[in-house]
Symmetry: C2
Subunit: 294 residues, 2 copies
């Protein structure tokens, strides 16, 4: 299979989990009606972005994998015969939690999972409180539509993660994410941040000759602590080809289901023209394993 129709559901979340899940299901249905063979959901799509504060009660949102959500979304994947990439708050053990993407294959079974490796922590994104850094490494998940290099949000700033997925045979990179602006950011600063978010991910496509699918949350969510004015998630989910070219892009302010075709055959053409993998200086990259070279 060379050409694949890819769908993504960019949503604004509400407090009620069941309502989010039900609306995600409607979004998936819409993508499938438009031909999607794979659908990707945004990061932690079942709930509000709870990491705006450090609140131990929020661990109640976590669930096992497999668990209720893999059952719910697995049934949807099976019913439609599609691959579905979901993003869950995984309860691995009492007191041990991960930010985990799960890939459900077209038979509804779990094809594989990825535990977010790079965990951010900055004001309004207190993820180090909630998520233990992943311990599964950077391994693509084999599915009926290809080998998926699934990474999550903060990972998108790390060229190492994208490269490792490509070296391990990923045929596309997939980023469920939840990123937005603080209300105190100036217009200029917002534009720079949004643009840098896009170019780093498009550059992963270029560096590795792979399509990239990035699915972001959209809309405003309050800060429960009242200390900040909350986050305005900037949407702008996109699908890029293996030269980093934008194939389709969603709204920056409203919910949208995006469907576009990617051509995996194009990756081979691009990699033949610009054979970056051929010339890596693996004899001289040891420093990449160091924190800093001082």
């Amino acid at each position: 299979m060379n050409r694949i129709k890819v769908g993504l559901v960019q949503q604004s979340a509400v407090r009620d989990l069941a309502e989010n899940m039900s609306r995600l299901s409607v979004g998936i249905d819409d993508c499938v009606e438009r031909g999607a063979q794979m659908v990707v959901l945004q990061e932690l799509h079942n709930s509000l972005y709870f990491c705006q504060t450090e609140d131990p009660m929020n661990f109640d949102l976590a669930e096992t994998v497999p668990g209720p959500s893999t059952k719910y979304f697995g049934a949807i994947a099976r019913r439609h015969g599609i691959v579905l990439v979901v993003s869950l708050f995984e309860k691995r053990a009492v007191g041990l939690y991960h930010n985990t993407a799960v890939v459900l294959d077209s038979d509804g079974e779990i094809a594989g999972k990825y535990r977010k490796m790079h965990i951010p922590d900055d004001p309004a994104y207190y993820e180090k409180f909630y998520f233990t850094p992943g311990d599964l490494g950077f391994r693509p998940v084999s599915t009926s539509v290809g080998r998926l290099g699934v990474l999550v949000c903060w990972d998108q700033w790390y060229s190492e993660a994208a490269r490792l997925m490509a070296l391990a045979g990923a045929e596309m990179l997939i980023y469920p994410t939840a990123i937005g602006w603080e209300s105190s950011d100036t217009e200029d600063e917002r534009r720079r941040q949004n643009e840098s978010w896009k170019i780093v991910q498009r550059a992963h496509a270029v560096n590795n000759g792979l399509p990239v699918i990035s699915v972001n949350r959209v809309g405003r969510e309050d800060d429960p602590s009242g200390r900040t004015n909350g986050i305005s998630f900037w949407g702008g989910s996109f699908i890029a080809g293996p030269q980093g070219e934008i194939i389709a892009e969603a709204s920056s302010v409203s919910e949208e289901n995006l469907v576009a075709e990617i051509d995996l055959g194009r990756s081979e053409e691009v990699r033949r023209w610009w054979p970056f993998l051929r010339d890596r200086r693996v004899d001289s990259y040891e420093g990449l394993l160091r924190r800093f070279i001082d």
Copy 2:
């Protein structure tokens, strides 16, 4: 020193070396008059881009380092009291050549050099015939305006090279380069290539919180073999800030001396907001030292 005025000279080369060198000198003078404390020249600026064919006679263009060009440009650097980054065809020994960037400090002395580590080879860019891959690794050069992470052309597609320079303390990344289109490329293909070239380098700025200075050749050069219609170098030299934002950009069709200010203090602000270096998973990057993970 936090704010630095940076200049670059984007030129079309001719066959006569002395004429190129003389015109480069005029370009440097112009940058200095406009306040530049550092000037960067494009890749292999003394000659035509001779790698369009594999011709053993072209090794006559190579010279030692130190040698005539470091003397010529060293005198210019000393006269103006500026840092000058030049790009030379280095003759290291009989039968051993490199594509080497040399940094001349404001006293005219050689502050350090970098031998291009990643060597391309594709139709019209037969560099593997001419240049032995560098063996100096990725080490910034300390100068009176800061620690310069000098890389060359094909290196620009490798996030590993940019990261290693940043980890070794580079305060900015500098790419002398010579890239263009083949006449058979479609308009769409040209746009994709040009855009991908820009975003990968801007992404190095984002990933590493560093300014990037990229200096490209401009104008058309014939293929001496007559097998192709030559290369149209696309110019578009640019200076980007540590969020990948374009600060200044040169013409895509004509010669231009570009001068702009970069603020090294801004890098620290940016790295505090988005502390990517903090969260690298150095425990899980071993695969980066492998050719492919199969």
